[in-house]
Symmetry: D2
Subunit: 345 residues, 4 copies
Amino acid sequence: MKVGIIGATGYAGGELVRLLMGHPQAEIVWYGSRSYIDKKYYEVFQNMFQIVDSKCLDDNMEELAAQADVIFTATPQGFCASIINEEILSKVKVVDLSADFRIKDVKVYEEWYKITHKSPQFIDEAVYGLCEINREDVKKARLVANPGCYPTCSTLSIYPMVKEGLIHPNTIIIDAKSGTSGAGRGAKVDNLYCEVNENMKAYGVSTHRHTPEIEEQLGYAAGEKVVLNFTPHLAPMNRGILVTAYASLKKEVTYDEVKAVYDKYYGTEKFVRVLDEDVCPQTKWVEGSNYVDVNFKLDFRTNRIIMMGAMDNLVKGAAGQAVQNMNLMFGLEESMGLCQAPMFP
Amino acid sequence: MKVGIIGATGYAGGELVRLLMGHPQAEIVWYGSRSYIDKKYYEVFQNMFQIVDSKCLDDNMEELAAQADVIFTATPQGFCASIINEEILSKVKVVDLSADFRIKDVKVYEEWYKITHKSPQFIDEAVYGLCEINREDVKKARLVANPGCYPTCSTLSIYPMVKEGLIHPNTIIIDAKSGTSGAGRGAKVDNLYCEVNENMKAYGVSTHRHTPEIEEQLGYAAGEKVVLNFTPHLAPMNRGILVTAYASLKKEVTYDEVKAVYDKYYGTEKFVRVLDEDVCPQTKWVEGSNYVDVNFKLDFRTNRIIMMGAMDNLVKGAAGQAVQNMNLMFGLEESMGLCQAPMFP
Amino acid sequence: MKVGIIGATGYAGGELVRLLMGHPQAEIVWYGSRSYIDKKYYEVFQNMFQIVDSKCLDDNMEELAAQADVIFTATPQGFCASIINEEILSKVKVVDLSADFRIKDVKVYEEWYKITHKSPQFIDEAVYGLCEINREDVKKARLVANPGCYPTCSTLSIYPMVKEGLIHPNTIIIDAKSGTSGAGRGAKVDNLYCEVNENMKAYGVSTHRHTPEIEEQLGYAAGEKVVLNFTPHLAPMNRGILVTAYASLKKEVTYDEVKAVYDKYYGTEKFVRVLDEDVCPQTKWVEGSNYVDVNFKLDFRTNRIIMMGAMDNLVKGAAGQAVQNMNLMFGLEESMGLCQAPMFP
Amino acid sequence: MKVGIIGATGYAGGELVRLLMGHPQAEIVWYGSRSYIDKKYYEVFQNMFQIVDSKCLDDNMEELAAQADVIFTATPQGFCASIINEEILSKVKVVDLSADFRIKDVKVYEEWYKITHKSPQFIDEAVYGLCEINREDVKKARLVANPGCYPTCSTLSIYPMVKEGLIHPNTIIIDAKSGTSGAGRGAKVDNLYCEVNENMKAYGVSTHRHTPEIEEQLGYAAGEKVVLNFTPHLAPMNRGILVTAYASLKKEVTYDEVKAVYDKYYGTEKFVRVLDEDVCPQTKWVEGSNYVDVNFKLDFRTNRIIMMGAMDNLVKGAAGQAVQNMNLMFGLEESMGLCQAPMFP
């Protein structure tokens, strides 16, 4: 299977390369990077010295579509929508790691992202690639919208409770903490070592673009419109997202009942691990892997549930899930190339 | 003013020493440390080499009460309650950095801390030393219960909204992130560098002992019993607490109205800084200082307010506030010895 | 191939488990850990939840020798020497990750390690498992002494220059920086997050036990006794060793000549990468992988060469090299299970 | 005393502001910053919110010279040399934190810095502001060249041994590790959090510009030209420089003899602390303070001495030493405003 990557020199692109190097069926034929055209890929990511010998290429979609079976676009918002067309989709499958095709309501997309959608005609067709929930649709898709990092961790942590109608959806509050690789490899003062290290802050409070994405997905589960609070925080670590979510219970439930609900949805899922009672997810326990660790705690004093999830934002939150989607789209074993155990410490 | 410290070799004790070194009116006469008796203090904290030449001493309260004007107990729960008595209080003022005298209802204390209170007779007299709120009582106190780190940051972030009746107290959810110095200097695997670094986790979910302390203080502001969710997280940094708190608004309010409320309570406070609109508090901006930075964001989609606070857990969250209390108790200028600007980066 | 691990719950032991999970020919049959007998292995390292379901076992060598084809001892100094015997070696191959069989001169061992060697009769037989240098001997070995982390990185960085007689061996000065996982998982105040974070220090200056190990190996290359300076430093990171070594050149050499020397020794080595001119090794570029990146810089002003190496101390510096040795001992492909690309960032 | 700062929004400039806020005799009248003209200073460094209310100003030297008693230039190489002139120096004293006036041989400066010196006529007059060594000259200076961070720590660590003729100067090898604030606040990919965190690397090997500065200063001590190796490393921490230096002893010496030598030079120095035997300097022990901790270890096996120093690069390595120089130039107590104890942890 021949793979083309557009945006191969960002952190998500680099992680795609790392994972695909270990994938028995995939071969990368195109290292797309506008910023580093003609530069050896390993000069941009020296970890790939003597592993990848190719040069970075420009974004020639026709050429790429002719050479590849699948294209990953790990690019800024708007790019994939601006280059996608029927001819491309007739030749190659596309996994878009940007937000362009995640949100079904184009008005919501344009409102939160402040850009005009260039290819609204493909929005309906695109499948939201949260594999554990939309597996069957992904298998048939030509175009997969790879979920955002926060939405993946948030949705998987909360989904069973909403789907089973055990919580009031509009009481959901999601407090998320992310490592700094989520901010990308752009040279900005805010992301300098000395600004991030020994520091914690919230950002994008009540305005972060992942909010409508989470609301839409949980809305499908709830069968009604969901409005919630989502607050991301920047944490002084390279990788990892930790989600702590709160919601009011509709009725009294026991630990065992809720555990059974989580097991119902994830008991047979390889990549979602429901931890033992009272064990809180930690980002370090999933680092470098495609796992999401989830758990919950019932608080009878406040009649709320606290739902928690931990994930590597670059793997399950980006490149790993993209490979998982590719595997599904091509009829391969879903976990192919994704079986690394997490690295600790 | 002669100062004795019991528990001088923990992180909070060390910070007391650092701050008191720069205090023009204070002189430390007793470096109490059961673990390091007769060892030079600087051998335990080498930053104090050639600054402190004293040896660590055992906890001889009679001797200490005879020598000192004020005693700080930076000790585990239960210690201060076990050694305090009328004779001591008749000779010296005491600032207890543990939780022993923070909670007025001894049953609540014993339930959450799982120990029997040894001196309930002093609970009523003890003043909860959140200076910005209880300033006048602190001035008259013999025994001050120095607030916990999380309660200081949480209460100051939320207090104006509760006091003014703008939010429903029982919808309050506090999601807090702390640096690792809050876990103390005990040798535990969980606090090893490799376990904390590159890691985030929640802990003590729905069971953390600072919960009733926050509930009590906000209860006074609300004029009714408050029950809330408090979830602490361990963050990979030495110092700093970041609080992100959520609550439902009782009625529609504008940014200016809420800003006016925060300014009403903190406009003249030196150590509480209400940041400019849309500026989120960051722990790095207060590091090493006694400041608490607070701010808020209104989310009209969900009718909630997000209240934020950032603080150095060892300064305003422990030793700095203890010194601030001492200053008040002795009629000194409240900010004496506490005027260092935060260190950045 | 059945594998037993003694000391499976230290950081090196944990890394062995992680690597062997991805090894197509190896199956772990014994998770030895005195400290956690009967506890589920994943309760000690939660990254292994739903990956390893076994319990930790005591160190029953007879039983282990009966069940396993190879035993890894990731144990404190002295342990392997205390349990090894002819019967065990007649049944299983042993890779010892401790220092017990690294040093041929038992007096030197006992002097630097301050313990009496319990099995000096096996020292001669034991092969020093620096695969790139002793490959053929390792293939025939029953007992392999897996090199220390610092000696692996130091020796590989310097070896070609000594072997080719281009530097004066007794001018060698090695300044090494290590991540904190090298200090082990023991609960010590010195290794607490707050003590290591934002801190750098040298330790064991002129007395570190890896000194004679490096001297011995470079002595073989030099054909004469080598005495050198080795100074380790603790760096605030989980993984990685960076070596910066200095030596005086015997004669004038050009960059190309020295490059040719490094290529002569490492040009066909998978796991030693000689970087391009002027590219300095970085520990992040090899993290999680079995690679050692080396390079050098000639300084004509001082007539010295600066030799540099970077490595993951838990992989090539411990568990990865142990697996590499196992592969060689059993006639498997040397890189089997070790082909992960480094993780960045 | 009225102080103007040019380059107030870099990390060294920010540290000058922090220190001068606590200086009883200094008042900052000019926050110079070309990049942020007319912006409130606290918007650039939010730690200064409600502490500094001034706006950033352009670099109007005539105006500045008219208003200020002393000017600090915390600017890139070449700037100070390009604006200095006799008229300015006749009105105000200048402390230049750049390298422009550190090196007496203008050819050496131009060769290492690759720029043409614009004001060579002031090089002779300028005093190299390493206070502990050039105190008397600083007191009389109009123009002080504030030493570089690495040279300060390196020179102070090695100086007594060279001055007393106990080591061969041309065997000196300096291996230095610096926190990332030394790289400045410019937005570069290399200094992003994810590139620096969990990483160590050497840089500028044999070509770093601080090399000739150290050689010149040690040359004065030696009474002869000194050529040495200096290798800086980037460490994943905000602040701190650790120097580990090696040199061959000219003759046998005992610990006590060498200790006496260090005490001879530093026994009465407030800011240089010679640690107790076998205590290695740690950067955390001096963080936020103007101290340099030094110590040494004799290695009789190799006949070398290992000299170590730790310092906060932004304080003693930049802003703190600049204030110390200012104090000397104006006849104030040398330690005024610099007496903060180091912050730990």
